[in-house]
Symmetry: C2
C-alpha cells in the first residue's frame, strides 16, 4: 500500500468540494499553487467558466483530471427524452476528451422525474433497464473516441432520485454484461461514501480488479448525518475506515488518485476555500 503520509502527490480534489467558494478556473489555480496535481470538475462548473478557458488553465498549470463529472441520468418515460439524454452524454464525452479526463463518471439516474421532485414511475426495474440500455448506447461512442466510462454506484439512499445502481456488485454486473472482455472501456468509480457499508465490498473490489476500478473517491460518513445529500464529512471526521478501503483497492491493482469529494452545506462550503484545500491535504496524509 502506498504511503501517503509524506506528500500529497496522489490527492485529487473533486471540484464540488469548493464549488461554493470559487469558479473552476480559480479552483485549478488554487490547487496548482498547493501542489495538488489533479481535480475532477463538474459539467456545470466547466460551462460557467467556459470549456476553452478551463482547458487553458489546465494546460498552463499542468493540473490534470482524475475524472469528469458526470454523464448518466438515463431513465426516462419517452424515447424522445432517451434520445436527448444520449445526445447529452455524447457531449459530456466530448468535453471529457477536450479536458483530457481519464474517464467520464456516470451517475446513472433514478426514477424518471424524481430528481426534480416529481417521480413519474415507481418501476425501478424499468429504470434499471434504461440504465443498461443507455450505457450500452453511450459505450459505442465512448469506445470510438477512447473515453472510458466509470459507473458510480451511489448509496441506496439515492436510489429514487439519483442512481438506481446502488452496489458495486450491481455495477460490475453491468460491466460484465456490456464489456465482458474487460477492455478498459467500462469500469466503476468506487466512492467510499457510497459503498463503505456494503458487506460484500471487499469481495467485489477483488472481483473488479485493476481493469474495472477507474476512480477512487473519499470523504467520510458523519454520525449523525443530518442531510441526505449535503452532509458529507472530511476524512477522519466520520466512521469510514478509509485506509482499510484503500488497501483493498490498491491490492486489486488501483494505483491512481484518491479524489476528495465533499458536499457539505453546513460546514465546508461555508469556510474559506484555502482552508478547505489545506485541510484536504492534511487529512489525505493521515486519514486516507
Amino acid at each position: 500500500m502506498r504511503d501517503f503520509s509524506h506528500d500529497h502527490r496522489w490527492l485529487s480534489i473533486n471540484a464540488a468540494t469548493v464549488r461554493a467558494q470559487w469558479p473552476l478556473d480559480r479552483i485549478v489555480d488554487e490547487c496548482s499553487r498547493r501542489g495538488i496535481r489533479a481535480i475532477s470538475p463538474w459539467r456545470d462548473q466547466v460551462a460557467a467558466v467556459g470549456l476553452e478557458r478551463v482547458a487553458e488553465r489546465l494546460r498552463a498549470t499542468g493540473v490534470e483530471l482524475s475524472g469528469y463529472c458526470r454523464g448518466g441520468m438515463f431513465p426516462a418515460m419517452t424515447d424522445t427524452e432517451r434520445r436527448a439524454t444520449l445526445d447529452d452524454n455524447r457531449r459530456a464525452i466530448d468535453e471529457a476528451k477536450t479536458l483530457g479526463a481519464p474517464c467520464l463518471v456516470l451517475v446513472v439516474g433514478g426514477l424518471p422525474g424524481a430528481l426534480a421532485g416529481h417521480p413519474q414511475s415507481k418501476d425501478i426495474a424499468a429504470a434499471r433497464r434504461d440504465v443498461h440500455d443507455g450505457i450500452a448506447a453511450t459505450l459505442v461512442y465512448a469506445r470510438e473516441v477512447g473515453m472510458p466510462l466509470a459507473i458510480e454506484p451511489l448509496h441506496p439512499m439515492y436510489a429514487a432520485d439519483r442512481a438506481c445502481v446502488n452496489t458495486l456488485e450491481q455495477a460490475l454486473d453491468l460491466c460484465d454484461a456490456l464489456d465482458p472482455a474487460r477492455t478498459g472501456a467500462l469500469g466503476v468509480a468506487v466512492d467510499a461514501y457510497h459503498v463503505w457499508w456494503d458487506p460484500k465490498l471487499e469481495a467485489q473490489i477483488v472481483r473488479a480488479g485493476r481493469e474495472r476500478i477507474l476512480a477512487f473517491h473519499v470523504c467520510d460518513w458523519l454520525v449523525p448525518t443530518t442531510d441526505l445529500l449535503n452532509d458529507r464529512g472530511m476524512m477522519g471526521d466520520g466512521v469510514i475506515d478509509l485506509p482499510r478501503l484503500r488497501g483493498w483497492v490498491e491490492a486489486a491493482g488501483y494505483a491512481g488518485y484518491s479524489e476528495v469529494e465533499i458536499f457539505s452545506a453546513a460546514n465546508w462550503w461555508k469556510r474559506d476555500g484555502g482552508e478547505v484545500l489545506d485541510t484536504c491535504i492534511a487529512r489525505h496524509r493521515i486519514s486516507v
Copy 2:
C-alpha cells in the same frame, strides 16, 4: 395474491406510527375500535404503561401482536457490555412471550457508541462478528422458550448507528449460518422501506421462503426525503411499488400481516391519532 381492497383484516399497526399521540393501552383500544386486529409495540411503550396492563388490554380486546420491537444492539467494545446486552435480549424475549408475540424483531446494532453520537470504532466487520455471536447466543434461549427471532435488515443509511445488517441477502446468510435446518426459530423481518432499493430483492425473497419471512412491514419512501430517521411516508405517497413487493413475499409463502411502520416527525406524528389510523386503513386497501 390476497385482495386487500375490501377489508383490513391483514393490517397491523406498528405502535411507533402513533407513538407521539397515545400511550400503548390507548393505541390498543383505538385499533380495536377500528377493527385493526394486530399491532407491534416497542419495548419503551410497553414499559411506560406496564407489561401487565398491556397484556390485559390485548386479552380484553382480542388484538394480537404481529411482532415485538425490539431486541438486538449486539456490537460492543467490552465483554461486560456484551453480557448486559444478552441479558437485555433475554428480557425482551420474556416480554414477547408474555404478550404473545409471534416473533421478536432484531435491530442488530451498528458501530459501538454510534447511536449515542460517539462512535468508538470504525470496524464494521467487528460489529458484524458481534452481531453473529449475539444472535447465536440469544437464539439458545429463544429456542428454549419458543420465540422466533426476526433479523430486520435496515437501510444502509443506518449501517453506522442502528444496524450493520443492511441487505436481505446478508440477513439470510446469518439465518443459514445459525439455523441451517430452517426450523422457524430464526428468520427475517422484511420492511419495504429498508429493502425496496435492492436489485437482488426479489431473488432473496424467493430464497427466504415461507420459513424465513416472519414479518412484513410497509410505509413509503418520500421524494425528497428530508430526514434520515423520521421522514417515512404513508403508503401511496412515495415511490415504493408496495403491491409488487407484497406479491413477492406472498409468492414466497408469507400470509401474515402487512404492518404499517411510519416514523414521521413533520407530518403523521403531528396529526390526530384517529386520522392516522383511518388513513392507514384506507391506504392499506388501495396502496399495499
